[in-house]
């Protein structure tokens, strides 16, 4: 059902709340403004992790969404960022202050984790030179130097745990892991639950805090990071490194059945149509596989792409979407790659474009086509830098 002409149904999945944080700032309107008048050069941190560039976290007043200092202290930055972004989405949906709606709300979080204590790790590595008894050294250092509460403050499912504690979302709580695919599966599962009547309203999303060397290591062990001067997503082919520039940020959505949203008088940004996911073989004609996946979600004139810049994956995605005659907006040019949050972020931006009824201007005018005229449906994509693919059609509410 292309271009947003599908009939309405009470079990439609509508997007009624969006929480966004990226280097561009926080909130729906900040992002709408930034993507409507894209800066030539987004906020970047080029020195701290050289030779890598990252899109850093913006200034955030954590108190605005996490009232208790004690709660803030129990989280490392990633959990705090996710909890904060989830709060933005709940606020935006008009649910945050409604205890009953939070208590009956389901939650699917796409999580990473692993914000280790770098100082402790480095002290072990420094002491390891010339020693054979590494196991003993690790025991000695970790038992004496590790902060007891750090484990929970960086543990994957504790982002959801903290959202329960801080925002009182307690209907159900599932945490999916696995890079971009976790975000894809989270949204796909949340939507399937609503369509089937298993849920009425779901909080779904993720966050990624890249300003930690272990987070960069997770990409660079597979030679995925772009090195040297920053370039937009489409201009990294053939340059030094693997093409991915990461960013700190998060995206959470409130998804609801149309019936539930209408009953409480909530406004809907957009309707979430078909969500298609897969783990495609990347040998052979990968672009053809991606094209078929887009066909499963539904074809349209505009794609909000989560392309990471990873040479092979991003090249294939461009070929597939060009082949479909789709204008593309690769948002990572402005935000960096947000890993688990990549697909939720794509869906959120697609919803804003659908709500506006028009495409954002090209973020990289040399590579992205202008698109005039009314936009009624947008394809949101996340093609993993290494594995997993997801696409969804976001349509007029």
């Amino acid at each position: 059902m292309p271009d947003g002409n599908a009939p309405m149904s009470s079990s439609d999945v509508v997007i009624t709340g969006i929480g966004l944080v990226s280097a561009l700032g926080e909130g729906v309107e900040t992002h709408r403004a930034a993507f409507s008048a894209p800066p030539g050069r987004p906020p970047l941190e080029e020195a701290a992790y050289a030779p890598y560039t990252v899109h850093p976290l913006p200034a955030i007043d954590w108190n605005l969404q996490i009232a208790k200092r004690g709660d803030q202290r129990q989280m490392e930055t990633w959990q705090r960022l996710g909890t904060y972004t989830a709060g933005l989405a709940l606020d935006d949906a008009g649910i945050k202050a409604d205890e009953a709606l939070c208590a009956s709300m389901d939650m699917v979080v796409a999580a990473g984790g692993g914000e280790r204590d770098e100082a402790v790790d480095l002290s072990i590595l420094a002491a390891s030179d010339g020693r054979d008894d590494i196991g003993v050294l690790v025991n000695e250092k970790l038992t004496t130097e590790l902060r007891p509460t750090l484990f929970l403050a960086q543990l994957s499912n504790l982002l959801a745990g903290n959202i329960s504690i801080v925002h009182k979302v307690t209907g159900s709580s599932r945490t999916f892991m696995g890079e971009e695919g976790a975000g894809v599966a989270a949204i796909e599962t949340a939507a399937a639950r609503i369509r089937s009547g298993q849920s009425t309203h779901v909080l779904v999303g993720g966050a990624f805090q890249t300003e930690h060397n272990d987070m960069l290591l997770g990409y660079e062990l597979g030679s995925h990071l772009h090195r040297g001067r920053w370039k937009p997503v489409w201009q990294r082919q053939g340059m030094e490194g693997g093409g991915v520039v990461t960013g700190s940020g998060g995206a959470f959505l409130v998804l609801e059945s149309r019936e539930h949203a209408e009953k409480r008088g909530a406004r809907a940004y957009a309707r979430l149509g078909a969500v298609a996911s897969d783990r495609l073989r990347r040998q052979g004609d990968y672009a053809a596989g991606l094209k078929a996946l887009a066909g499963r979600a539904g074809s349209t004139k505009l794609a909000v792409s989560g392309a990471s810049g990873a040479h092979a994956a991003t090249g294939a995605e461009k070929k597939a979407l060009d082949g479909l005659g789709c204008a593309i907006r690769a948002f990572s040019t402005l935000t960096g790659h947000l890993k688990e949050a990549q697909f939720p972020f794509a869906v959120a931006l697609a919803a804003l474009a659908v709500q506006d009824g028009k495409a954002f201007p090209p973020l990289d005018p040399g590579a992205e086509q202008a698109l005039d005229g009314e936009v009624r449906a947008v394809l949101a994509t996340a093609v993993g830098y290494h594995r997993s693919e997801g696409m969804a059609l976001v349509e007029r509410a």
Binding site: Q74, G112, G113, E118, D121, L125, S128, D133, I134, V136, V138, N139, E140, L142, L146, P148, L150, F151, L152, L155, S156, N157, L158, A160, G161, N162, S164, I165, K168, V169, T170, G171, S172, S173, R174, T175, F176, M177, G178, E179, G181, A182, V184, A185, E188, T189, A192, S196, N213, D214, L217, G218, E220, L221, S223, D278, R279, G384, R387, S388
Partner: protein
Amino acid sequence: MAGMADHLGRPLVAVTGIGIVTSLGAGKAENWTALTSGRSGIRTISRFPIEHLNTRISGMVDFLPSSSRGATALTREMAETAALEAIGQSGHSESEFGGPLFLAAPPVELDWSSRIALQRAKAEGEGMGRLLAAARALNALDMFDTSQFGFIADRLADRFGTRGLPITLSTACASGATAIQLGVEAIRRGECDRALAIGADGSATAEALIRFSLLSALSTQNDAPEKASKPFSRDRDGFVLAEGAAALVLESLESATARGATVLAVLRGCGEHADDFHRTRTKPDGSPAIAAVRAALADAGLGEDGIDYVNAHGTSTPENDRMEHLALSTVFGERMKSIPISSNKSMIGHTLSAAGAVEAAFSVLTMRESVLPPTINHDNPDPAILLDVVPNAKRSADVRAVLSNSFGFGGQNTCLVLAREPV
């Protein structure tokens, strides 16, 4: 088809295959024999040095080729071993399973042997920059794999020909139950007629042990390892970290019946409720666990009198066992004193991400064999916990339905109801 739908008109979900790996051995036969004999799999740790550690015991899986090759490799091998057994029993194809995969697995970070290898690669730079430079130079894809949370499920999907994008999940110590729940829900939605649910955890590393130790969660009764896990006892002092895996082939009863498969059990209900009280402690009134148990009963369409046996979460921590008793006695009232309840963890320890799946698999065997596995080490009962814990020796019993509890850090509470017969 008549009799193929549950009380809410949803497809009934059968279990048609199970596979188990724990410290007691590989395979359900070996595990069941040991479990019903009251044998403990808890030992003094031999895999890594135990100097400086407060807890020096664990229920490790030390008999597989991957046992010394790191958490990712071992988790993967145990998951594969259990899945192979389960699929084999179900009669489905081992290479073209054809349903989705739900994997409960531990969030594993790059391990110390990799970090040391990067440090010793003599790359340029200082501190973490040196490791990143080494990563660029080495192009060590095997190390990369261990840093990607989606890796194990991806390989399992290749191995067994599961359908679509697999889901890797973590709900802490409830993960295994959540994997089953996701499979049940997918079948009920009509998305598939079968699903593979696996819980696997091979992450009993020194660092994991230290992290749990620093939270005071582990037993420190190192001198008699097999005695350390003593759920519901007065002198219980923490759980014993352990490894293991279990796989369940879930299938619509209609599909199982149509192909003439043996129905081992029916997954009647799943219930869940998150706790917003604290990161490691449960709400003092036990309301989230109570809500999860009640939700599972309601989902199963059973009243409080429908449960014949409880497979306890029973971790042997002071907090869990007290709260579990509170929750159960609130839901079942006076009758809870006479509903047998036992903790598999008294013998296999706490297999963390795998526990919910391992214990669901044991619950299936409990019903099929009409034997209740014991709670061992029950020499000093907690006088505040009035439960029939099947102390120290197995017992014959006719069990039509089991409640299996899983409670985890981060306010995760998930309960499953399994039944022997479809109705």
